[in-house]
Structures are given as structure tokens and as C-alpha cells.
Symmetry: C2
Subunit: 223 residues, 2 copies
DNA sequence: TTGTAATCTGTACAGACGTACAGTGAGCTC
DNA sequence: GAGCTCACTGTACGTCTGTACAGATTACAA
């Protein structure tokens, strides 16, 4: 049934037509966006007629909802487990996430921009995990529910999601698509490098200076 | 002429029709994407007829190119200056970037995902700046043109761009849109927080452990 | 005033889109 | 084997889209 959820080696013809349509929709939505993808294009990619797509999913919105469901189904275990273990916000999870099936992440990346409620929920879950991580690791710096931890966690979620949303540009610069399983860890390792180095920079005198300038600019927005 | 480039206080009716159309297109493209925005919707928003849009920009692609030109025009000075001063990759520039006109950044964020050559060039410029910054600040860690600095700079560019691309989610969580000038510095300050803290984490024993796991996973991709 | 170019409007058209629906055939039950 | 359900196809319809184009209006130069 899964096709994408449990990548078996069976040829595509062995899949249910319904699953084949959903997989094709996942790819088309990911590549062309919600508006750009067409039911006829999806039907062609799945090797079925336009009518069958309607028969199984009623409408375009219904098909999109089915794609959303497939994503949450695939990520549910991973996310809830991450939340339970309290490791959701730690950088390691992102690498784990990258190890997941590429098509799903590609779809999620587009859905994040096209604005689906599922993607929004996932972003919030990521931010909540980051908030928990920050508050747990540096309780004095990030008191739970403080504005500071809320801002930092939100931005952290956006930065990490950004590497998924913009994976196409990374693929172009890397030579390999980082969303393919064999190069999944490459983003994670680079992120560790960035954090280690720019982290040094952030606590350096120059970093303090930037922080002061920004703070002054925020409190006294003149010139 | 500028309208967006030099925000004067004159009412919209004082602007050239051509400039009004371009401004409306910027906003519509930013909100609905290249595919989702329609020439009729743009014409309505600008208060002109559909025919006039064609007259001034020939085609939808022509209008999009004009929007791209407006963006590079607005950013050219800023970016070249940043490159000359060698400050393009430093975190401070992002705050500077955020202080620019909101509509332009919103358009750029969408263009980055919809895939315009202009957006791609700007991403590359950002990555090149980050590469320069890393190599200049930590020459031994990031030898110029090494794979390591290339990976780190690419991911850094993606993370920073991510805060722009996903600004809608930040706006929802912040309560204020961070792309409005008065809250421009909020993202920058939060980023400094994230870098300072996660930077500590990245060089901690736990960070080393994650790095080792990821490296082993990369070199020996078995279970 | 006449002529010419630029600005601007309205209509018309071909194609692509989502959706509705009649119809076909295979499998299954009673 | 009659009846039924379900997977599946093909066609048709109304709407929306980008584009083309004729014509009206204005600005300006000769």
C-alpha cells in the first residue's frame, strides 16, 4: 500500500492505482506547486485516465489533502518519538529527517511555501521542539514561554526548514541532491560547521557590537 | 519613478501607471506565486485595464522580468557595497537587508521558490559572500575553495534565506511581520541568540557525538 | 489646426483548467 | 446467471487564463 512509506523494490505496476496517483501527485505538487500542478499532468504521470483521479480523490483539493495525510502518516512516528524523547529540537533530528524519503520532503518543502495547514502544523511542531530544546539546555537564558525563547525557536525552525525548502539550490551547488538518502548527512554536517563557527562569531566582540547596533536600532528607529 | 525604490509619501495616483502596475505585480507575484498571480488580478489591483498591462510589459513573462529588474536595481548598490567591504557574509548584513522595502523582499522570497534566474543569482551572491566571510575569518578551518567552506557557505545561505522565505510563519508566531521595517531587527537578534547558543552546543561533547554519528553514517551508509 | 505618437480601454479568441457524468468491464455475491 | 459494486475510460461543459487587436483618448510637435 505504502509505495513511498515503505520503499519496496516492486515495480511501479505492482502498486495500487490509487497509490500510484498519490505518488505522482506528491511529485507534481512538489515540482510545480499547488497551483502549477494539473490533474491531467498527474494522471499522465501515474499512467491513468483523468477520470480515475477524480474517482479516487473527488477533487484537486481532495488529492492534496491525501498527499498531506501521507506526509503526516510518514512523519507521525518520527515526530512523536522525537517529542517523547525530548530530542525534537536538537540538530541531530534534522539529519534524521533528511534520511526520510525524498519525495515526501520535497512535497513538504513546497507545501510550506504554498501554505497548507499540515505544513503549518509541522512548522509549529518543529518550533515547539526547538523551544523545548533551548529552554531545557539553557534554562537561565531561555526561560520557558519567555518572548526570547519564542523568538529564537521560531527563527531556528525557519533556518532549519530553509535548508529543506531551498534544497534545490543546495543540490545545484553540491552537485548531489541533499534530499537523496546517500547525501542526507551532508547538510547536517555543514550545519554543525556553521553553528560552531558563526557561534564563535556571535559571542565575539564583533558579535556584541552587531547585537548592540541592532538593539539600538530596534529601540530607537531613527536614521 | 521609483515608488518602491524611493518610498515617497505621494498618493498612489501620482505614480506612473507603469510603476503602479509593477508594484501591484510585485505584490501579487509575492502572494500567489508566478503561476497563481493573474494579469487580470494585477490590473485590478493597479486600477488599470488588462490591455494597459500588456501595452507596457507585452507579456506575463515580461512583467515578471520587470519585477526582477526592480529587485536587482534596489539591491545592486547594497550588495556590491557589501561585497567590496567584504561584509556580505557577516550576520549584520541580513539585518541590513531586512531593513529594505518589504514588498521587494516578499517578492524575492517567492521568486526564490518559484525559481527565477535573478533569485538564483542572488542566492549565489549570498553564498559567495558567506564563503568569503568564513574563509577570511577562519582561514585554517575553511581554506578558500575547499569543499568544506563551500558546503558550509551554501547551507548558511540557505538558512539565512529561509528566514525570509518563511517570513510568513515568523509573522504568525511573532505577531508582527518581521519584513516590516519596524520589526526588521527582530530576526537578526534572534539569529544571534540561536548562533550563540547552538554554537555552544555544536562544540560540546554531545555535538561531537552527533558529528561522529553523521560522519560514520555518511562513510558507511549501513543500517 | 493638423498630424503623429503614446497612453489607455474593451472585446474577442484559443487553449488549458477543474469538474460532471454517462458508459464499459471485471469481479463478487446470492 | 442475475444483480451489484467497484475500478476505470472518454467526452463534454463552463470558467479562467494569456494573448491579440481594433479603436478611443490624450499629449505634443509642426
Amino acid at each position: 500500500m505504502g509505495s513511498i512509506l515503505s520503499p519496496d523494490d516492486r515495480p511501479a505496476t505492482d502498486l495500487t492505482a490509487r497509490a500510484r496517483i498519490r505518488d505522482a501527485a506528491l511529485a507534481q505538487f512538489a515540482e510545480h506547486g499547488t497551483k502549477g500542478a494539473t490533474l491531467r499532468g498527474i494522471a499522465d504521470a501515474a499512467g491513468v485516465s483523468l477520470g480515475l483521479v477524480q474517482h479516487h480523490f473527488r477533487s484537486k483539493e481532495g488529492l492534496r489533502a491525501a498527499c498531506d495525510d501521507a506526509v503526516v502518516e510518514a512523519f507521525r512516528g518520527r515526530l512523536t518519538r522525537g517529542t517523547a524523547e525530548g530530542t525534537l529540537g536538537e540538530p541531530g533530528l534534522l539529519g534524521d529527517l533528511f534520511a526520510t524519503s525524498g519525495p515526501l520532503l520535497r512535497y513538504l518543502a513546497r507545501a510550506l511555501v504554498d501554505g497548507s495547514s499540515t505544513a503549518a502544523a509541522m512548522f509549529d511542531e518543529l518550533a515547539a521542539g526547538a523551544e523545548d530544546f533551548l529552554s531545557r539546555t539553557w534554562p537561565d537564558r531561555y526561560p520557558p514561554d519567555s518572548p526570547r525563547v519564542r523568538d529564537a525557536a521560531s527563527v531556528m525552525a525557519a533556518m532549519h526548514s530553509g535548508t529543506i525548502v531551498l534544497h534545490g539550490y543546495l543540490a545545484r551547488r553540491f552537485g548531489d541532491d541533499p534530499l537523496d538518502r546517500e547525501h542526507a548527512t551532508r547538510i547536517g554536517l555543514a550545519m554543525l560547521d556553521v553553528y560552531a563557527s558563526v557561534g564563535e562569531f556571535a559571542v565575539s566582540p564583533t558579535g556584541d557590537q552587531i547585537r548592540e547596533t541592532a538593539t539600538r536600532l530596534r529601540d530607537h528607529p531613527d536614521t
